[in-house]
């Protein structure tokens, strides 16, 4: 059992000891988590103080906030329960070994509970410990806080296990319908964008110390109170935790959690093998699949299929480029509102170039980070490098097509993004033209750099593009940082700072063109399969 549990931890990339190559990703992940926790705690405490002015509202608000955090933790647990229990390779490697079948399931369950506990503790402790000084029975509450994530995890894992089986069936059914898959992902991301803009606006209001009278209307306060007390079964836990007189609620919660966990484990025990071996079968009657194409067209078609029909890219690159205009618009709009409203507006009056450069930064960041996801030969062609190598087609041309197709897709998404931004007057014409030019050069350069890193990896299987990933953040930051510095120190007009930006990206482009002309062919021909 311990060995099985160790195996689960070893499979988690987060528990792999950081080395020279992945320390940057590790550090970024830590910074991201800490940043999210800080924002969450800031939101909670700021709102708590405002709710405290109304009778009983702070209690309902605290319960509701804990419920929202519990739901976020549930969504995360649904994702990794899927990943841990429905890993076909893992199942095929363990199921034929002389290991008790239930031990495999129990070890995975314990692992899920530990991970959920840690995650729930990280996102709940800062809130819980900021509640402790504000309520009665502080010592007891402080002690009980240690166990709060554990009780939360019992229910979260129980629910995740119960719904994991239908989710797997739906997921496998959707694999047969890439367009439906794309629509669902796009809708999901749009909803996430909407939620994000809501939270951002709330955050901005708090930063500006607005009174937010609308939020504290009597109807809204009643709604918050209702939700907090009737969002079962989470209400039972959160209410009983903040008010020890509701002991019965806690027992009800515990019984429901244990029943959910028991049902979940039983269902997984029954369906673990069946679901892992199951696949929906659909005949694809596409008339274009029966006849021979020109070789170039066949390669282009294959690249499009890899981008739009492969599950991994559908859920990352494809859906993101479709949503890039909306996503960028929402974020830039929220930033503009934040900077032009309330206390922060004063800075814009003094430093008008700040607004332009923040908008430019966001537009460049979105286009560079999203586009870089697409040039991932080692992920999309890991095994099929062999096919690329043995077919009688120029490897050089093949890799060029592999680079150009995602570049063209990203180019379209970026052009549409900038048109949306300029047509909604979020950015001016000067930012539009320069931003678009900078974006196109950065996207192309980073894609080539990423390709270079992958081609030069000694072991292609472990290839990664750390430098290009780092540059996708760093270049937009350096461009906008230098712009702000130049404008504030020298009082340069935007047009001159943009010229400076062009020098930076043309240096990058120059290097990339030199690489493509002088070294690219050798790197492509040197690409080997890994046995």
């Amino acid at each position: 059992m311990i060995t099985l549990l160790k195996k689960e931890f070893k499979l988690n990339p987060f528990f792999i000891k950081p080395n020279k190559k992945n320390w940057l990703s590790f550090l970024l992940a830590i910074i991201l988590i800490v940043g999210l926790v800080v924002i969450e705690t800031f939101l909670f405490n700021s709102l708590y103080d405002k709710f405290d002015a109304y009778e009983g509202a702070s209690f309902s608000f605290s319960v509701l906030f804990l419920i929202i955090v519990a739901l976020i933790s549930l969504i995360i647990s649904i994702f990794y329960v899927q990943r841990i229990f429905f890993n076909r390779l893992d199942m095929s490697l363990t199921i034929n070994k002389p290991i008790d079948y239930m031990k495999i399931i129990i070890s995975k369950l314990i692992y899920c509970l530990i991970i959920n506990y840690v995650f729930a503790a990280v996102i709940n402790f800062p809130i819980l410990y900021s509640i402790v000084p504000k309520v009665a029975m502080q010592t007891l509450l402080g002690f009980a806080t240690i166990f709060y994530p554990l009780f939360l995890s019992l229910l979260n894992i129980g629910i995740s296990l119960i719904i994991s089986i239908p989710i797997q069936y739906i997921y496998r059914l959707l694999k047969q319908y890439p367009i439906v898959q794309l629509i669902i992902v796009a809708l999901g991301l749009s909803f996430a964008c909407y939620l994000y803009s809501l939270v951002l606006n709330l955050f901005v209001d708090l930063m500006n110390n607005n009174s937010m009278q609308i939020l504290f209307s009597s109807e809204n306060l009643a709604l918050i109170n209702d939700l907090a007390h009737n969002f079962y079964p989470y209400s039972y836990l959160c209410v009983s935790y903040l008010n020890f007189s509701h002991g019965v609620d806690f027992i009800i919660y515990l019984v429901i959690s244990l029943i959910a966990l028991a049902i979940g484990v039983s269902l997984i025990a029954l369906f673990y093998v069946k679901v892992n071996q199951f696949e929906f079968v659909k005949e694809h009657n596409n008339k274009y699949q029966y006849h021979i194409l020109k070789s170039d067209r066949a390669i282009i078609k294959k690249e499009f299929l890899l981008l739009f029909k492969e599950n991994d890219t559908t859920y990352s690159f494809t859906s993101l480029i479709i949503l890039q205009p909306v996503l960028t618009f929402l974020v830039i709009n929220a930033i503009n509102v934040a900077l032009l409203r309330g206390n922060l507006a004063i800075y814009i009056t003094i430093m008008p170039y700040l607004l332009n450069n923040f908008d430019l930064l966001m537009a460049l960041l979105f286009s560079s980070v999203i586009s870089l996801n697409a040039v991932n030969i080692y992920k999309s062609e890991l095994k099929t490098i062999r096919v690329m190598k043995y077919i009688p087609y120029s490897m050089y041309k093949h890799v060029y097509i592999k680079l150009l197709i995602p570049f063209i897709c990203s180019l379209f998404a970026t052009i549409i993004t900038f048109i949306v931004l300029v047509s909604t007057s979020l950015i001016g014409l000067d930012t539009f033209f320069m931003g678009l030019l900078l974006s196109i050069i950065i996207i192309f350069s980073l894609m080539v750099l990423s390709l270079k890193e992958q081609l030069r990896s000694s072991k292609f299987e472990k290839a990664n593009s750390y430098l290009s990933n780092f540059l996708s953040f760093f270049i937009p930051l350096i461009i906008c940082g230098v712009n702000i510095l130049l404008a504030s120190l020298l009082g340069w007009l935007n047009i001159y700072t943009y010229l400076f930006d062009l020098i930076i990206v043309f240096i990058l482009l120059g290097y990339v063109i030199y690489y493509l002309i002088r070294k690219f062919k050798n790197d492509v021909l040197g690409l080997e399969v890994v046995n």
Partner: protein, 264 residues
């Protein structure tokens, strides 16, 4: 002496695969050491050896999937480095692990392979019909996404893909892994039929019985070199002794290594 004799006898035969002084290393480890080999047109050639002696590396170099440090590889006279497209058009290849684009349907994958080999539509349709019937991969299966195939079905698809462009040389690396007995028998038939058309087959397999039964000549590989080439047509008794020859060779080699280590 034995190999010299064979060389003289085979002087008049046309060479389909020629490997000259092939060297390949992974870092400091030499996997192929001056490997030389000639496979003749119309021959069914077995390339056998225990794990890790360089069989798959030889095939990877042969098909252009791996660079090599030095040496030359010719397929039907075309140098794999200097004329890669012409050389690659000569052969069809099957790997030990079915390697396909899993998000494609069976038809899409075969269309892709047929297209990159610049086949005519008529030839493609005829070959597709013949091969899918022969290997029992019906229309309904070919319309499905490859990710939903079983291992055996994927291997059948790879076998079809390897022959769809009507190659002159058929290179197979452990092709029988995961095949059921029916397909296994069909594959044997197909190899014999392929050979009848004066075409060449180069096969590696751990299934010594299969190699002994169908191959004309067999090369035994050890430490990145050809230790022995046996003409099974000339000496049919060796078909029944191949297992023993194989085991004896490695036993001797291991003993020699132990002695060398001891002396060192």
């Amino acid at each position: 002496m034995e190999q010299e004799e064979l060389k003289n006898q085979n002087n008049d035969k046309k060479i389909a695969i020629k490997i000259e002084n092939l060297n390949k290393s992974y870092g400091k480890k030499h996997v192929l050491n001056d490997l030389n080999l000639e496979v003749y047109e119309g021959e069914l050639f077995g390339y056998v050896g225990k794990n890790g002696v360089g069989k798959s590396t030889t095939i990877d170099c042969l098909i252009g999937a791996k660079k090599f440090d030095s040496g030359h590889i010719y397929i039907n006279g075309f140098d794999i480095l200097k004329e890669p497209f012409k050389a690659k058009k000569q052969f069809g290849y099957v790997s030990s692990e079915p390697t396909t684009y899993e998000m494609m349907t069976g038809y899409e994958y075969l269309q892709f392979i047929g297209s990159v080999y610049n086949m005519s539509d008529d030839a493609y349709q005829n070959n597709l019909k013949y091969l899918s019937n022969k290997l029992d991969l019906p229309d309904a299966d070919l319309k499905r996404i490859i990710a939903t195939y079983s291992h055996g079905m994927k291997q059948k698809l790879c076998l079809i893909a390897s022959l769809i462009a009507n190659p002159k040389v058929w290179i197979m690396d452990e092709p029988t892994v995961g095949l059921d007995i029916m397909v296994f028998e069909t594959l044997k038939e197909m190899m014999v039929e392929f050979k009848k058309h004066q075409k060449t087959i180069f096969i590696t397999s751990h299934n010594i019985d299969l190699v002994a039964k169908i191959c004309d000549r067999v090369a035994l590989v050890n430490n990145g070199r050809i230790e022995k080439v046996i003409d099974l047509n000339k000496d049919p008794d060796k078909r029944y002794q191949l297992n023993k020859i194989f085991l004896d060779m490695y036993k001797r080699s291991e003993e020699k290594e132990k002695n060398d280590d001891y002396i060192a």
